[in-house]
């Protein structure tokens, strides 16, 4: 973790986000901010509305009301007003999915090249220059392959490059999804339970990868995760949701000791156990804080 949170500019500003499905209010007036070069975790019990926030941010749902402002490269993008694919194309928000969504019949490398669609499409002049095999396009494709190679190296998938994505082991598929999202050159990367189903070794490799992305690429990460060892170890800032409302917001230590959070997770009676347990998991965070 380099520097204190105050150093980083605000990347994402969620204000009064509300999402209603008929009579059901999935998200109720949630506001929080996420900063560039930081990992912001969204946690909460099942059905708290975490994935719904992601779907609003990436244009799969349009929020009932609220404002989703993304600030980077000297401009502001109002995500709630943008069409789904433009959020990635113009505002540079990328995401992964809770149940992995890869292009199974395509090779690993092709998955990463597809992620660079918009750059390559521009280079191929809407396919006309590409059809004629012009030099500009060939150069752009070479760069795309090099970028893909870089992320394959980073995620340890180089040996799988020419295999079909569907044939990869589970952990490799998870990493490929992150690599694919990174190939879109995101400013904000939204990860929906990236550690689900990983073994402890893979999980710690994932932590290292996410820290690398955060530090080297100055990307803001938004993370939904149930695995507390991941959340507490790598996040700089945690937002806790329960029944669609924000119940706590702060550094990992603050959140772990917040009585409201403990009540939401463990109920009223057993609240004495949690702070200690989380504290045991957290030597790193303690030192930083």
């Amino acid at each position: 973790m380099n520097g204190t949170p105050e150093d980083q500019p605000v990347l994402l500003q969620v204000e009064h986000l509300t999402m209603k499905f008929g009579g059901l209010t999935a998200i109720d007036d949630v506001s929080f901010t996420a900063k560039a070069g930081e990992i912001t975790a969204i946690i909460g019990p099942n059905g708290a509305g975490k994935t719904t926030i992601f779907n609003c941010l990436t244009g799969f749902y349009s929020p009932t009301y609220g404002r989703l402002g993304l600030h980077h490269s000297d401009s502001e993008f109002l995500l709630e007003r943008m069409e789904g694919f433009r959020i990635t194309q113009q505002a540079h928000v990328a995401r992964t999915f809770q149940n992995i969504r890869l292009f199974g019949a395509m090779s690993v490398l092709e998955n990463l090249i597809v992620a660079q669609h918009n750059v390559l499409m521009r280079a191929s002049k809407l396919s006309f220059a590409g059809l004629l095999g012009m030099k500009g396009y060939r150069q752009a494709e070479k760069e795309a392959i090099n970028k893909a190679r870089y992320w394959l190296q980073r995620t340890g998938l180089l040996e799988y490059a020419d295999q079909d994505a569907a044939n990869l082991p589970y952990g490799a598929q998870r990493r490929l999804e992150i690599a694919r999202a990174m190939c879109t050159r995101p400013a904000l990367l939204c990860l929906d339970e990236p550690a689900a189903g990983l073994n402890p070794k893979e999980s710690s490799e994932l932590n290292a990868l996410l820290n690398y992305i955060k530090n080297e690429h100055q990307v803001g990460l938004l993370l939904i995760e149930h695995d507390m060892s991941v959340v507490m170890e790598i996040s700089d800032h945690i937002v806790v949701l329960d029944y669609g409302r924000k119940i706590s917001d702060g550094t990992p230590v603050m959140v772990a000791n917040d009585p409201v959070v403990i009540r939401a997770y463990l109920g009223e009676d057993e609240d004495s156990q949690l702070p200690q347990k989380i504290a045991e998991d957290l030597p790193g965070v303690r030192q930083d804080a």
Binding site: T58, G59, F60, G84, F85, R86, I87, T88, Q89, A94, R95, F97, R101, L102, F103, G104, A105, M106, S107, L109, E110, I113, V114, A115, H117, N118, L120, M121, S124, L126, S127, G130, L131, Y137, E141, K142, I145, A148, R149, L152, L158, A161, D162, R180, A181, T184
Partner: protein, 444 residues
Amino acid sequence: MQNTPQRAVNWSRIVKESLVAGLIALVLFFELVGVRVVDNPGGLGLRSRWLWLLIAVVATAVGRLLLAWRREILNNRPVADLGLTASDSGKSDSRIQIFTRYVAPLLIAFALTLPMMPFANRYIVDIATLVLTYVMLGWGLNIVVGLAGLLDLGYVAFYAVGAYSYALLSTQLGWSFWVSLPLAGLLAASFGILLGFPVLRLRGDYLAIVTLGFGEIVRIILLNWYTFTNGPDGISGIPRPSFFGLPFKRHVPEGTDSFSSFFGLDYSSMHRIIFLYYLILLLALLTNFFTLRIRRLPIGRAWEALREDEIASRSLGINPTNTKLSGFAIGAMFAGFAGSFFATRQGFVSPESFTFIESAVILSIVVLGGMGSQIGVVLAAVLLIGGTEMFRSLADFRMLAFGALMVAIMVWKPRGLLSNREPTVRLADHPEEPSPDLVAEQKS
């Protein structure tokens, strides 16, 4: 676990199976084969054909017996004999790759030299032209169905648009084939976009039903808009193509040349047939070249990504609307080219040529060939179109043979004749630029 590799063949089960099959055949064939309606002087009557029924039932039972027996023998082989190791599928994949690499140039060479072969007569070249038309249509539909994954049951509508475009442009405005051809393609492509808009949100079965309806709408408009399309009478007298302005005719007006007089040849009606053959070969190869090329471009990869997972492709910034519409438009464009060719070859178009069965045949070619496989389409077209031509002597049973062939291919190769997919780009083909000291090391 299996100490005795040779278990006894379970005969009672086999016999029971074949008896059940015979019973089912009896029920089915009783009406189909056993009785026949005949015209008696006093009205309709029934004539029984018990011998035929017996033959059908026995044949079915014996066939089932043999199948079951073969299966039992295969099941009883020790596991090692089966050859079903993990590398099996990989081996067959690489076999297909080798097949594709060497057979494709051979096929092209054969297609180029076919009219000069000693056995090539008018009939053979005509059939080859027909097969190539379907190969081209199959390749065009392969873009929509194989690459973009959009099941289109109304593809023949674009074929019709292309055919009528040329027919009307040439007979009404007197435009030549080479001017009308790109226009027919453009018109068909715009019809593709027209169809694309309402079906953007549909997938699978629903998409299939709407495209089927679209195909029928186009045919019915052609049938009923009498003042424009001449309705069921069709458009006749469509000009035949010329060889760069030289007509293929025996007699031409004084002072002009025909193809034969210009080249100092004796007039032969084969000239035009062979010219048409090379024309469709050129158009088909153009389609193939275009498809192979566009697969490696971002738009082609976006089609495949959309086929694999639409939500994921949207999250990567791919515009699903434009991508789908371009798929429909480009697929339709090639059908339009093929349609113009059809019109100039026949000299006559009518709505009858563009019924649903045509769409079904083109789709079968794509599916049987193996979705997305270019050479598979060629094999399937040769089998289905060439095959039905050869079965012409079977008269009434021709469609039965067609159906049996399709069933056989689907049983034998459920994913199509050649169904492997080559990646459009390989990391192995793009090695990292070696660093200078590594090169020096290798030299020493």
